[in-house]
């Protein structure tokens, strides 16, 4: 996927998401397969494991709730859809090139400040996760349980929110200062170094993605 033009990558992502949302079981299966193929070069085990760990509880709640309402089939499909969409998102985040995406979004006339905020925000997510891990380690070493029952957990995690917010704000301020000290001016004209090169394979992939999305919607109707 990474060999494709970033605009095509975005089109492919949109098509797969449309498929998962409106394409029933085949659409969900295609989305999951597309995610696995995308992360294959990285070793799919890591991405799949991490995604399933975080999303499985939500999927399980959906499944159980629908099953209790006597709609097991619907619950199973929705749970599978949630997992597949999470996998697609994780796979895209794992392989997408931020610089190329910025170039693609600028081509789509999305303002640079907005695209940059999006990419920088995505980059800060794992950093914030590491901060939270340090804070929770500090809490556990002071005898504060962050496991336990749901109420205990909620109380313990809420204790971590203020310091996490402070750390994140401080990090954001430092980043902002560093950007300005490197000549960044919000709203000012910039050059983007990444050049978009359209190949025949991009045309083929775009046609396939658009046809797939249209097909899913048409069949769904």
């Amino acid at each position: 996927m990474t060999a494709l033009d970033p605009r095509v990558q975005l089109a492919g992502l949109a098509a797969v998401v449309i498929g998962a949302l409106f394409g029933g079981v085949p659409g969900v299966a295609v989305a999951a397969a597309a995610a696995l193929v995308t992360v294959r070069p990285l070793g799919p085990g890591r991405v799949v494991r991490r995604t399933v760990v975080y999303v499985a509880p939500l999927a399980a709640v959906i499944l159980v709730a629908d099953a209790l309402a006597g709609q097991l089939d619907r619950g199973a499909l929705t749970a599978a859809r949630v997992l597949a969409l999470a996998l697609v998102g994780s796979a895209f985040a794992a392989v997408a090139d931020g610089e190329a995406l910025v170039a693609a979004l600028r081509w789509l006339r999305v303002p640079y400040d907005m695209t940059f905020a999006l990419v920088a925000g995505a980059r800060l997510v794992p950093v914030a996760a590491a901060d939270l891990a340090d804070l929770s380690d500090a809490a556990r070493l002071r005898g504060i349980s962050i496991d336990g029952g749901p109420v205990d957990r909620l109380r313990s995690w809420s204790r971590l929110l203020v310091p996490l917010l402070v750390v994140t704000i401080r990090r954001g301020l430092r980043l902002g200062e560093a950007m300005e000290a490197r000549g960044f001016v919000p709203g000012a004209g910039r050059t983007v170094r990444s050049r978009l090169v359209w190949r025949t394979s991009d045309t083929v992939a775009t046609v396939a993605a658009v046809a797939y999305a249209i097909g899913v919607i048409a069949i769904g109707r």
Binding site: L135, R140, R142, P163, E177, M179, A181
Partner: protein
């Protein structure tokens, strides 16, 4: 404070890159100004070393020179401040950057804006709206200058600490600066990597005729590349001049500036000019004053505080083992350094030791409790951790509550006693009702340390405790470590600071690529020091001097500065 020497340099405005005259700056709501009547001149191609104790105003001065102060961090600015001929008061940071001022920060990971190396280096030139071909050329040239040619497509977060700092340096160089500001660029790096970075900076600055202002605590290295030094204390210029003579001034060391031990020894021995800055310069000019006496190793407790047996661990998000087959034991009251390159597994060992991670293979015992199978609440009573960034450890709303937080297992009267002891011991009594996050960085560190010490853990881990600390604070920390160990706590120190390791620890564990590469005692005799050096552990100045003297057949045993000064004399030079 009173000026220690020639504080006001002669004006050289004709070729001035920096010209400050009577600059005073006060942060909003601050009681005292961060800078007071600062005047200084830096000319084209000059390299200025900026030193001073913690909180002296060094960072504020750097932030003023790039325009962050007063544009992004407002406050009252009085006096004349010109950089590259531009008035800092009216020129915002981006305009200064466009004209040729660049900053390299302490922790590059906090300032990276892009995912890949090429994009990171190109970010600045993109802001100048240069044609893509020129941006490519600048990025390639800058990366080549720092030895990272071919790294354009690598992800910055997957690079080592040293490589990340080189990327930050390349990003600054891509702006083709005339003035490069460096704020402790090697603070997070191990000794060997730091030396490499500083050599690169020196070479690039000389090659391009750039002016430099560098804040750095590895003064033995940086003082040799600087054309002059400026000492700042309590916001005022306390001393300026040739770096060697500035560092040889005993009053500079008294301020808390981490003057190299080689220089302090030379001053105490009255070796005269040129003042040595490094062990190789000192060792060549001294001889033993008498027969070497090798001290006997100190006796140890035989009660185990921490035991690792064939421990292995792989993070769930990784396919590579972070720790492999690590076995060692630490007894009560022992002071052990854990050293090794960035990414060698030191922090993972610390987390395994405290039960924050459970081993995949082997076993860890903390104070007799296996970390697998023992609830975290019980392990927490035996282990303590002080991270390098205190903000990531502060959880309560007052200093007093912060200390109380870890004492829930005690009856209230005992907890009260320990809180009071900790507040007194770490001079926090006046701050007990303050919110920890409103305190200064140094005060926050004291709070975190107080909270850990109050719990009287069997094992206390200190992760890079001297980061951002001046010499006085470092000495105080050594005192705390020694005192804690004397009371029975085993202290495990992760540090890139050879002087602190030498002062505070009695044994060193060397990690390399997740494995324990060496487990050695620290001592003052040449044989012990040689063994530590051959394990790749960077030596502090005094042991390094002893080692270098031994290489030329001059045997002396010394570990501390006082021991060395007592046991050597100036070398007689025969004409």
């Amino acid at each position: 404070m009173d000026s220690l020497g020639p504080a006001q340099p002669d004006p050289r405005s004709a070729s001035s890159i920096i010209s400050l005259r009577g600059v005073t700056f006060r942060y909003p709501r601050a009681l005292a100004p961060a800078l007071r009547y600062v005047s200084l001149e830096v000319g084209e191609g000059e390299r200025m070393l900026l030193v001073g104790p913690t909180g002296s105003g060094k960072s504020t001065l750097l932030r003023l020179l790039i325009g962050v102060v007063p544009h992004l961090t407002p406050g009252d600015l009085v006096g004349e401040a010109e950089v590259l001929g531009l008035d800092v008061r009216t020129t915002p940071p981006h305009a200064l950057a466009a004209r040729g001022v660049a900053l390299v920060a302490q922790d590059p990971a906090e300032t990276f804006v892009a995912e890949r190396v090429g994009a990171e280096v190109a970010f600045g030139p993109e802001g100048l709206a240069l044609p893509p071909a020129e941006i490519d050329a600048r990025a390639g040239e800058a990366l080549a200058a720092v030895g990272l040619g071919g790294f354009e497509r690598r992800r910055v977060r997957e690079l080592s600490g040293g490589e990340q700092q080189r990327v930050a340096l390349a990003a600054a160089l891509a702006m083709r600066p005339r003035l490069l500001l460096l704020d402790e660029p090697t603070a997070h790096l191990d000794e060997a990597t730091a030396r490499g970075i500083l050599r690169s900076i020196d070479a690039v600055a000389r090659d391009r005729g750039m002016s430099l202002v560098i804040v750095e605590h590895r003064l033995g290295i940086v003082a040799r590349m600087a054309t002059h030094a400026l000492v700042i204390a309590a916001g005022t210029v306390a001393r300026t001049g040739d770096p060697r003579s500035v560092l040889a001034d005993v009053r500079v060391a008294e301020l808390g500036v981490p003057v190299p031990r080689s220089t302090l020894a030379a001053t105490a021995l009255r070796l005269g000019e040129p003042v040595p800055l490094a062990p190789e310069e000192l060792a060549a000019r001294i001889d033993p004053a008498g027969a070497a006496s090798i001290p006997a190793p100190a006796s140890r407790s035989d009660t185990t505080a921490l035991r690792f047996v064939a421990v292995g661990y792989t993070y769930p998000s990784s396919d590579r083992a972070a720790v492999r087959d690590v076995t060692f034991t630490v007894v009560q009251g022992e002071r052990v350094a854990l050293v090794g390159p960035t990414g060698s597994g030191k922090s993972t060992v610390a987390k395994l030791a405290l039960g924050l991670r459970r081993p995949d293979a082997g076993a860890v015992e903390l104070s007799g409790m296996p970390t697998v199978g023992t609830p975290m609440g019980e392990l927490a009573t035996a282990g303590g951790l002080v991270l390098q960034d205190p903000v990531r450890q502060l959880l309560a709303e007052t200093v007093e509550d912060e200390i109380r937080l870890g004492l829930g297992h005690l009856v209230p009267s005992d907890a009260r006693t320990r809180i009071d002891d900790a507040l007194t011991r770490f001079a926090l009594g006046d701050l007990r009702r303050r919110h920890p996050l409103t305190l200064s960085e140094g005060e926050r560190r004291r709070v975190v340390l107080a909270a850990a010490v109050a719990r009287r853990p069997a094992v206390l881990v200190l992760d890079e405790p001297t980061l951002g600390q001046d010499a006085h604070q470092r000495d105080a920390l050594v005192h705390v470590v020694v005192e804690l160990a004397a009371s029975g706590t085993a202290v495990l120190v992760i540090s890139h600071d050879p002087e602190f390791v030498n002062d505070a620890c009695e044994r060193v564990l060397v990690m390399r690529e997740g494995a324990l590469a060496a487990d050695l005692p620290l001592g003052g005799d040449p044989r012990t020091i040689a063994a530590v050096a051959s394990a790749g552990v960077p030596l502090a100045d005094v042991p390094a001097t002893v080692c270098l003297m031994a290489e030329r057949g001059a045997t002396v045993a010394a570990r501390s500065l006082d021991e060395l000064v007592d046991r050597v004399r100036p070398r007689e030079v025969r004409s």
